[in-house]
Symmetry: C2
Subunit: 93 residues, 2 copies
């Protein structure tokens, strides 16, 4: 299955920056960092569940969100990007 | 077709907040505001093209991005939300 992950981690407090770094580090182990707060890629069912559970242990459920869009066949989604494309090696957010 | 729109408008400068407000106002005319920087909904081909062209006239191509994921059949995408859900009536970003 193809996964599109979009997140918004509240970094108003310092602890939020730690959560953001942890979520980014974790997501990079599973998916491609395609835009500032967007990851994409193919995942097995088992890895999808594992990623969700790992993220649940990091985020603040009162201030952060992570959305997963699951598309079983990658050919069923087309992507259009306007504006800056993203170089994952630049980690300045 | 079903559209998922994800954006990130750079608001470091004051002008960026104007662009953000314009993009949000525009997107609300076409799609549902489902998360802080995410809109979703059904669009015709004509409206999809019109929305893209309108956004092109607003964003700063060097600092902002808007991604459209186009899924022709809404049944081909499942959504999982972790963390805060979103009340579009609260416009505080």
């Amino acid at each position: 299955m193809y996964i599109i992950l979009v997140y918004d981690i509240c970094t108003i407090e310092k602890e939020g920056q730690n959560r953001l770094n942890k979520v980014m580090k974790l997501c990079r182990q599973y998916l491609h960092h395609t835009q500032k707060s967007v990851f994409e890629g193919e995942l097995s069912e088992a890895k999808f569940i594992k990623l969700q559970n790992s993220i649940k242990n990091i985020i603040d459920f009162n201030n952060d969100y992570v959305i997963f869009y699951r598309i079983d066949n990658k050919n069923n989604v087309k992507k259009y990007n306007l504006g800056i494309s993203f170089d994952p090696t630049t980690n300045i957010f």
